[in-house]
């Protein structure tokens, strides 16, 4: 197990190196410097600015010094938010986005698993068709459409819930969490349905039935553990998706999180900010993929055997 974790962490190093290098090169090959759209500054000011951000050095030197900074966990100063570092901005946005992603995930897991299990118990009946059609609807209703519709219905027409902000008014976290979570709830419902269907056709479930165990006991004690493995494996990629989804949801609901910072810095061409956040996101995604693999390993004895045996 430890060897597995260690080898996965070692594999993450080249991936991160590739991410850093590609992003760095992309940003530095962009036409026009980061200050080129500023109102015509005198050449000496421009030179001073470039010196301040090390832009006057050759590219490889910039790369080496940036890499050594990143290894020490320093993403440098922001180009556009003067006087603030990328680290400070990430530190400000991360708790907000993490909380949003957590709530969204809870919404997704709760709705998704209950709908999927419910549907799998009676396949090809109304009890299956209704939740699965709803799931399909959830997949086809992108967050940038669902969010505004929720705002329109519950925020503006019914005036039940606040429509923007984060932690200012009670209840303002409800709509963003639902908006971000719904699509994942739909995927999780489909995954848990197919996982459960497969497990329910296994011999050990038939044995449990033959022993006369109640349906409830069979489902919760015996089937769920195996049936939810596809869901667990989906959690890592889902987390990466949640980050992307937070771009939209944080923009719609005006939430000061990482996603909104990323989109804003993309518009402002705040290169150090984009660079730092891309690397940070990549690191996060790698960690979460690892965690979800470990969880799947812990739940599935067959995979555990494989991990112990080879590789």
């Amino acid at each position: 197990m430890l060897r597995f974790i260690a080898s996965r962490l070692l594999q993450a190093i080249p991936v991160l190196l590739v991410v850093i290098s590609v992003t760095f090169l992309l940003i530095h090959s962009a036409p026009g410097g980061p200050f080129s759209d500023e109102k015509a500054v005198p050449p000496e000011v421009a030179r001073a600015l470039e010196a301040q951000y090390n832009l006057d050095q050759p590219l490889w030197q910039q790369y080496v010094s940036y890499l050594s900074d990143v290894v020490r966990g320093d993403f440098g100063p922001s180009f556009k938010y003067s006087g603030r570092t990328v680290n400070e901005l990430i530190a400000a946005g991360l708790p907000v986005t993490a909380e949003l992603a957590l709530y969204a995930m809870l919404v997704a897991l709760f709705i998704g698993i209950s709908a999927g299990v419910f549907a799998a118990i009676r396949p090809n009946t109304l009890q299956d068709y209704i939740p699965m059609s709803a799931a399909m609807l959830g997949i086809c209703m992108p967050s940038f459409l669902l969010g505004p519709i929720l705002i329109l219905v519950f925020g503006i027409q019914l005036e039940w819930l606040p429509i923007s902000g984060w932690g200012d008014i009670p209840g303002d976290k409800i709509l963003p969490a639902i908006t971000l979570g719904t699509g994942y709830a739909a995927y999780i419902a489909r995954l848990s349905r197919s996982g459960m269907l497969e497990v329910l056709s296994q011999d050990y479930i038939r044995t449990a039935c033959a022993k006369g165990l109640s349906e409830r006991l069979i489902i919760f004690k015996h089937a769920l553990r195996g049936g939810l493995i596809p869901v667990i494996a989906f959690l890592g990629p889902a987390f990466a998706g949640l980050l992307g989804g937070s771009f939209v949801v944080e923009t719609i609901f005006q939430i000061p999180g990482l996603g909104r910072f990323y989109v804003t810095s993309a518009f402002n061409r705040d290169y150090t900010m984009i660079l730092g956040m891309t690397i940070f996101f990549a690191g996060l995604i790698i960690v979460f993929n690892l965690l979800s693999d470990l969880l799947a390993l812990w739940l599935n004895p067959k995979l555990r055997q494989q991990a112990r045996g080879g590789n």
Partner: protein, 291 residues
């Protein structure tokens, strides 16, 4: 197990079989019909759109649906139905072209890796694994920022994200096929490698590829809409459904129909394509599980 000389016969019966199964699946058939209508409307838009794309009527402004403007008009007095039709052309084009990019890269990569095998395969699939771990949504935003918001780049960027799964599917298919007895038999009969790829490998991988392609189109369209919604995709004066939804959101309190109609169109399209993909999967690839 099929015999080499029956390959073409087998192929046609596979497709016929699939068509018969697909016809029984009402939702998939509905998806197919919607897709056909969308393609027809998109192709014919310049001739059948009720108004021209540039036509605006500032005096009219935003009006709810009426007999002159079935889906209403936007704040510039532009006919919404016309705008959705032209936007659909762009959305569908992005969907098809980016999927084609993904298809070409994915099939080439997967079939080379699967057919050569060994160390080449290990290296190629390792690259795919590494790229899977990268935050691609973020990379697309990055590309759009660095190189400007150029529609061609959008195709390439989205295609470059979506080929990974295709490569995996094709590779596993090719690997499985390579070891089958009928391929060995074809070798022993002295068929060239290329003939085997063309006659046996490609036709037999086609099923899963078609299924996955159908499922890739809606996800690509969703990506495009997502980027356009953020202002990083299609740029005006061009229009797409994502961009129309973006505009609709800005004025949704006063003129909700500007959000609702493009939204319904996008959702309905995604719905239809997903059902078609699911139906094709059931019809063409009975082993694949429905997830």
């Amino acid at each position: 197990m099929q015999h080499p000389s029956q390959a073409s016969e087998q192929r046609s019966s596979l497709w016929l079989d699939a068509w018969i199964k697909l016809r029984k699946n009402r939702m998939a058939l509905f998806g197919f019909v919607v897709l056909l209508i969308l393609c027809a409307v998109s192709l014919l838009t310049p001739w059948i759109a009720p108004y021209s794309y540039e036509q605006q009527d500032l005096m009219l402004g935003a009006t709810p649906p009426s007999s002159a403007h079935w889906l209403g008009t936007d704040i510039f007095g532009r006919d919404m139905l016309t705008r959705i039709m032209y936007g659909g052309r762009v959305s569908l084009m992005v969907g098809f072209i980016a999927t084609a990019v993904a298809l070409v890269i994915g099939i080439l990569w997967g079939s080379i890796a699967g057919f050569i095998g060994g160390r080449v395969d290990a290296v190629m699939m390792r690259i795919v694994d590494i790229m899977y771990a990268l935050p691609f949504m973020i990379f697309i935003v990055l590309l759009m920022v660095v190189f400007g918001r150029n529609i061609l780049l959008l195709f390439v960027a989205i295609g470059a994200v979506e080929w990974l799964t295709m490569a995996r599917i094709v590779r596993s298919q090719v690997m499985a096929l390579r070891k089958q007895e009928f391929v060995e038999a074809a070798y022993s009969m002295g068929l060239s490698r290329w003939a085997i790829i063309r006659r046996h490998i490609i036709p037999n991988t086609l099923g899963p590829v078609v299924v996955y392609t159908t499922l890739t189109i809606p996800s690509v369209m969703l990506l495009e809409a997502f980027l356009s919604f953020l202002g990083l995709g299609i740029q005006p004066p061009q229009s797409s459904w994502g961009l129309l939804i973006n505009y609709g959101v800005e004025t949704m309190e006063e003129y909700p129909w500007l959000l609702i109609f493009p939204g319904i169109t996008l959702s309905l399209t995604l719905f239809a394509l997903n059902f078609l993909g699911d139906g094709l999967r059931d019809a063409l690839d009975p082993r694949a599980s429905k997830d």
